[in-house]
Symmetry: C2
Subunit: 218 residues, 2 copies
């Protein structure tokens, strides 16, 4: 096998065929759990439609939103690759349609599509960067900056999904009330526009500049 580093993650058309041949279609409704923390992985998932969140509950009851998966994302690859139990619970944030690969099949896919392992590795590499940068933010930035950055990130990833204050907070380590307060302030300063439960960013760059300016006032 010749491994080309820096190549595109995968040949989409080839992969799509493999998914058709080996995947089993499954459907979940908003709020459904795909799998629970502690479960043993028995396959991996590929999202055809919808949004899925990976969450983790602390013993004291507080939840974190660790990752967000949209269309064309895989789910469950981390635990699959090390054959560990899941360390978080995945929940359908919208109605979801996906392909499910029982383990033998995922191995077949890996064999037929050698770039797949590289693809999975690269996803892990990006996830790791993201996780560690957010870890860093949690100790080095104030809530307002974390909330602004999370709002921008989440909106960019899923522009059509109505993120709740709770979800934004769980993504950056803030309580719902704190997110509300920050959003109210951001609206007061003219950077966003709250329409009912929805949030519209007027100008992403201005908002981020504002965030940076606040950091200097640390």
């Amino acid at each position: 096998m010749k491994i080309k580093l820096g190549s595109k993650c995968h040949n989409k058309f080839k992969l799509t065929n493999l998914l058709k041949d080996f995947g089993r279609e499954r459907v979940f409704s908003k709020g459904d759990v795909l799998y629970n923390k502690g479960d043993r992985p028995s396959g991996i998932y590929y999202i055809q439609e919808g949004i899925v969140g990976l969450i983790n509950l602390a013993p004291n009851g507080s939840e974190s939103l660790l990752r967000v998966f949209g269309e064309e994302f895989f789910i469950g690859y981390r635990s699959f690759l090390v054959n560990e139990e899941y360390h978080g619970t995945t929940v359908a944030l919208t109605d979801v349609k996906l392909s499910y690969f029982p383990f033998e099949n995922a191995q077949i896919v890996l064999e037929k599509c050698p770039d797949m392992l590289l693809h999975l590795s690269q996803m892990l590499a990006r996830d790791l960067r993201n996780a560690e940068e957010r870890f860093n933010d949690l100790t080095g930035k104030r809530v307002i900056n974390r909330i602004i950055e999370s709002l921008v990130f989440l909106k960019q990833r899923q522009p059509n999904y109505q993120w709740t204050r709770r979800e934004i907070g769980e993504f950056c380590g803030a309580k719902t009330e704190t997110v509300t307060r920050v959003l109210t302030r951001l609206q007061g300063e003219g950077f966003i526009n709250k329409e009912g439960r929805d949030i519209n960013i007027n100008d992403v760059n201005k908002l981020l500049d504002y965030s940076e300016k606040l950091e200097l006032t640390y």
Copy 2:
């Protein structure tokens, strides 16, 4: 290429030979920087002797200790796999001797030792779990619990290294003074023993039980 999942990370003897054949020995002194955040990766490292830390500075000046690498660990594989700039700085925590593989060579190793990519993937998978669990802890647990768990983790990983209060704090999002206060309390309760700058845990399990008990009092 036949990929065997769940196999041992690598055949140590075979890999060791490869390292000998293709690696270039390099030496660093305690405190030296192997590479800086923002640098472009030009190779990967394999530690023969010593301890290396991956740290990240927030704009406000606070540092995080993201990962710790000991003997037989690779360094720089994350950025290598996605061909991204480094997102953190690596510092020699002790004098260090390592093998350095310029990029072409790392690719040769990947080709000659196909399990290598799986090995790297599995390290990423474990790193990711670790990072996300610590992210979660940062929002869901109190300092005292984070410090206890970090102390146990770091001591377990590198029993012979004298972790400073600062390093322990940077690993779990706490200030040096807070670590000191917690350690003083833990000594008062008989769980640890401070001998000069060194810290001895009397009974790891009792200490962890104590931590859990405290969590219930949340």
